[in-house]
């Protein structure tokens, strides 16, 4: 336990020494980075202790606030959220040394580092809190510190706007969570979290608790249609902050849902069903919205929505499995969801960090300005490619393993006659569609960014990122490869976490998934080695190559780089297929006449919920109230006297 508390303290205070140091010096940032890395190591120590000892770590101190107690409890379930947090936080801190060096950011660097450490500490507390009030305290700390990460570049209007939407969404969520915890207290009799499976779900109250939790936690996690704050926030924040927010912080929403559902002894079918529906919606529309984006960081942010959807599908499957009494579904569903939490934390932060290196080298986030970067940034390209393969769920990387667990749950229920199983069966085609769309999207991003000819001068000047930025990415890629190539090493840990959630899930033979993971590992190694061997043979024959020739232009003599396929045209067919939910705006592009004049074309896909529903609705409401106010408060004395007279008459009548 001392490991964990040390980690929280170190991370929380990591930015403080820097506040007292020279604005332009690098002492503060080095201390902050060292403290975060130390905190991450301590956190990993706690994780190892939990898995090694097998017992949850528990600590209970009294707290002066009524109803509150400083109860910190780290079990295997929480450890699965703590693990990616430690890795991503440390990687981001080291990356930040050069990406956001204090000497280049004297005005906001110290503040940024302070809140970076606070977010890390707060997330650690959130996943370990054993008391509602402590949980809410940590949750608020995380939300507010997150705001300062998003608005680090607050001279940009984009960042200020994104921060405002984030803050509004966050606090709406907290409102729901507050109500939820009060209801939970009435059900269990205490603000301390009940042990797994103790609470009896009673009709209306339990339904209200679940719905409030789904809203509050879903808002943080970014399930469609609650994802409104996510794309802009991740795009505006500095890249290593985006990695922390997207890789780790949004997972606290998933953690909340997982923990909340563990309290109840029986789960109504519609809980799992609604989570499956939201998960399917988020997965498919998250990736379709991502395909339609041109801003590379916004695109990655929408992929977070997609992956949260996949996690929700796994969690929903586990919930349905509990209500149907199918332990295999619980094990594979929750196992897949938890592993995907870790996986997404790893590859998404890897992607954000490598994109950060691209953005820093080129000075733009616009995909249509890139091209041919792998000539200038070969290592960044390789690292991004690893992340892209992983996030598309392809073997031999880690994304495949978690999706495989969920798929296997689906197919195992297909063989049996499970009542209500059709909801489960539909997960497989949804996941397949999501996977294929994600593949299309990452072929697009990788190809448009790193392959082909440069599309602008910014790319030609680009330099490879320094070693201190590359090293943390390599570590992340190493973990991705480890989970993909040796998935059987994580199997027992997953089983332990599933047991913490629902002990009934382990009352069955667990040999099947573990044995299959070993087989997958064999296939992954064979794939890697065979490809390596054949690639080596092909490279050895390079001396037969005719040198110095360009790409064949199909007979056209003067191709230029503007003629390459662009990001917009690559995704156009898919975007057109999903136009019913996207409403892409298109401008120009109509060349007419025998000798058409110069013509421009642009397309732009705003967010369906925020830009199409919430913003118009709220501006409509504010317009209404402005009109109302100008009508009521019109400045004429006679009217004010009339209001006073009417009020007096009203009260007179009321109290008579």
């Amino acid at each position: 336990m001392s490991w964990l508390l040390t980690a929280v303290a170190l991370a929380g205070l990591s930015g403080v020494p820097g506040l007292f140091m020279n604005r332009y010096g690098s002492g503060g940032e080095r201390i902050a980075c060292a403290l975060i890395v130390a905190a991450a190591l301590c956190g990993l120590g706690a994780v190892v202790q939990v898995f090694y000892d097998g017992d949850p770590l528990l600590l209970a101190w009294s707290w002066k606030i009524p109803g509150a107690a400083f109860i910190v409890r780290l079990d295997a379930l929480a450890a699965f959220f703590l693990m990616p947090l430690c890795l991503v936080a440390a990687a981001g801190a080291i990356y930040g040394l050069t990406y956001m060096a204090q000497s280049h950011h004297p005005e906001n660097g110290r503040q940024f580092r302070l809140f970076y450490g606070l977010v890390v500490a707060a997330v650690m507390l959130v996943v370990c809190a054993g008391n509602s009030l402590l949980f809410l305290f940590a949750w608020e700390l995380m939300a507010v510190s997150g705001f300062f990460l998003i608005t680090a570049d607050d001279q940009l209007e984009e960042a200020r706007k994104a921060g405002f939407v984030y803050l509004a969404a966050s606090h709406t969520g907290v409102l729901a969570l507050l109500a939820m915890f009060v209801l939970l207290e009435q059900g269990s009799g205490s603000f301390t979290f009940p042990a797994a499976g103790l609470l009896v779900a009673q009709g209306g109250s339990a339904a209200a608790i679940f719905l409030l939790g789904l809203f509050g936690f879903g808002l943080k996690a970014g399930l469609i249609p609650l994802h409104i704050w996510l794309p802009a926030a991740h795009a505006a924040a500095p890249s290593h902050a985006s990695a922390l927010l997207s890789g780790v912080m949004i997972k606290t929403g998933i953690y909340g849902l997982t923990r909340l559902t563990s309290f109840f002894c029986e789960i109504p079918f519609w809980w799992g069903g609604s989570l499956l529906a939201l998960g399917a919606l988020s997965a498919v529309f998250g990736v379709v919205l991502a395909l339609a984006q041109h801003d590379i960081k916004r695109l990655l942010a929408y992929h977070s929505v997609e992956n949260i959807g996949i996690i929700a599908l796994g969690l929903g499957m586990a919930l349905v499995g509990r209500s149907l009494g199918e332990p295999l579904l619980v094990m594979l569903g929750l196992g897949g969801a938890l592993l995907h939490v870790v996986n997404h934390g790893l590859f998404k932060s890897l992607l954000f960090l490598s994109v950060g290196s691209v953005v820093q080298a080129t000075g733009t986030r616009d995909l249509s300005q890139y091209g041919g970067l792998s000539k200038h940034q070969p290592l960044t390209a390789l690292l991004f490619l690893g992340g892209a393969v992983a996030i598309s769920g392809l073997p031999p990387f880690n994304g495949f393993i978690s999706e495989w667990l969920i798929y296997t749950g689906v197919f195992s229920s297909a063989g049996k006659d499970v009542g209500g199983g059709i909801a489960i069966l539909l997960i497989a085609p949804v996941l397949a569609l999501t996977g294929a769309l994600a593949l299309a999207c990452f072929v697009k991003v990788f190809g448009m960014t790193f392959l082909g000819h440069p599309r602008s001068d910014a790319v030609v000047q680009a330099k490879e990122a320094p070693a201190l930025m590359l090293a943390p990415m390599m570590v992340l890629l190493g973990f991705c490869a480890w989970i993909g190539l040796l998935p059987q090493t994580l199997g027992p840990l997953l089983l332990k976490a599933v047991g913490d959630w629902n002990s009934a899930a382990l009352e069955m033979p667990t040999a099947m998934p573990l044995q299959s993971l070993t087989n997958i590992s064999v296939f992954a190694w064979v794939l890697l080695l065979t490809c390596g061997l054949l690639f080596w043979w092909l490279q050895r024959r390079r001396h037969h190559v005719v040198p110095g020739l360009g790409t064949w232009g199909c007979g056209y003599q003067l191709p230029n780089q503007r003629m390459q396929y662009s990001a917009g045209s690559f995704a156009d067919t898919i975007v057109a297929l999903f136009r019913f939910g996207l409403w892409t705006r298109r401008h120009g592009g109509q060349a007419g006449g025998l000798f058409p004049a110069e013509e421009h074309f642009a397309c732009h896909t705003p967010d369906i919920v925020l830009d199409r529903a919430i913003l118009p609705a709220s501006s409509g409401i504010s317009w209404l109230f402005v009109r109302l106010r100008s009508w009521v408060q019109n400045g004429l004395l006679a009217f004010y006297l009339l209001y006073i007279a009417l009020t007096l008459i009203f009260f007179l009548l009321w109290f008579m």
Partner: protein
């Protein structure tokens, strides 16, 4: 097990190029020509392996990774698949997902290699390839779900195993018939055949797979041709296993039955290519969505 792996690999490596020859010969017969020798692809592969190559200076190592992965993936995927009554040598519970995703990996790198050239034609091909696969993928899952439901298993070996002949004769015949049609369509899409793609022409703007490999040459191009032939045989095996589930007590006869099934399948593809025109590009998504719906019907039939 080692023997099983070797038999599988030998059968695949030696027999696969023949199918391409049979398709070409069938098409030639329909067109009233004599056509190329049935063994033409074997000669091509031998020649390409010895040739030098032209590699655009725009490209990077990704360009070479495409053909390599395209060749390795069908080889590895075949180990999970029963060839007729020859059991899959490396079968495990849940291998069907790995099977599907391995081909996705090959698609990722083929498309990336195409984008690596910086040519707009190849970008076009890559975009179409990944787009149409998005629509084919759910169909495969529905078909596999039907088979999983009927067999109660989790591996391709069981899904395409002994239960099939009983299922055909039982009440599930119609559902199996429907997914057979669906899988045949997927086979045509994935192997870039008419009516979805034209394997014969490179240069028209309508092409998908052939235009993606436009810049490859020499041994790398040989790998692509070989990989495509292997893929045809591996995916064809899915269809043949499903359509011809009979087993006799003699292994040699079983093998002959299976190979004859593959030859018949190749001839069927040749006939389809001869009597149909390529679909307009905008029609392809509609056909694929229609196929997905057919596979949904098949699932509903087995669930009722």
């Amino acid at each position: 097990m080692i023997v099983g792996i070797l038999i599988h690999l030998l059968l695949l490596l030696l027999f696969a190029p023949l199918l391409a020859g049979i398709i070409a010969r069938t098409k030639a017969l329909f067109a009233g020509r004599r056509g190329q020798p049935v063994l033409q692809l074997y000669f091509d592969l031998l020649r390409l392996a010895r040739k030098g190559s032209v590699i655009s200076k725009t490209t990077t190592w990704v360009f070479a990774a495409g053909p390599v992965i395209g060749l390795v993936v069908p080889l590895i995927a075949a180990l999970m698949l029963p060839f007729g009554t020859f059991k899959a040598p490396l079968s495990f519970d849940g291998d069907l997902i790995l099977f599907v995703y391995l081909f996705a990996l090959a698609r990722f790198f083929t498309a990336a290699a195409a984008l690596d050239t910086g040519s707009s034609f190849e970008g076009m091909g890559a975009a179409r390839e990944v787009t149409f696969s998005c629509l084919a993928e759910p169909t495969i899952m529905f078909a596999l779900l039907v088979l999983a439901k009927l067999s109660g298993g989790l591996s391709l070996d069981v899904l395409l195993g002994d239960h099939l002949s009983a299922s055909w004769r039982g009440g599930s015949g119609p559902a199996l018939g429907l997914i057979l049609v669906c899988l045949f369509v997927v086979l045509l899409v994935e192997n870039s055949r008419i009516p979805f793609d034209d394997p014969n022409t490179h240069l028209e703007l309508t092409m998908i797979h052939e235009v993606m490999v436009l810049d490859h040459s020499g041994p790398a191009f040989g790998m692509i041709l070989y990989g495509a032939a292997l893929k045809l045989m591996v995916l064809g095996t899915l269809v043949v296993n499903l359509a011809l589930p009979w087993a006799t007590p003699w292994w040699a006869l079983n093998l002959l039955l299976y190979l004859a099934g593959l030859v018949l399948l190749a001839m069927l593809i040749g006939i389809v290519e001869s009597v149909m025109a390529r679909l307009r590009l905008v029609r392809i998504p509609q056909v694929l969505i229609g196929t997905t719906l057919i596979s949904v019907f098949a699932l509903v039939l087995v669930l009722r």
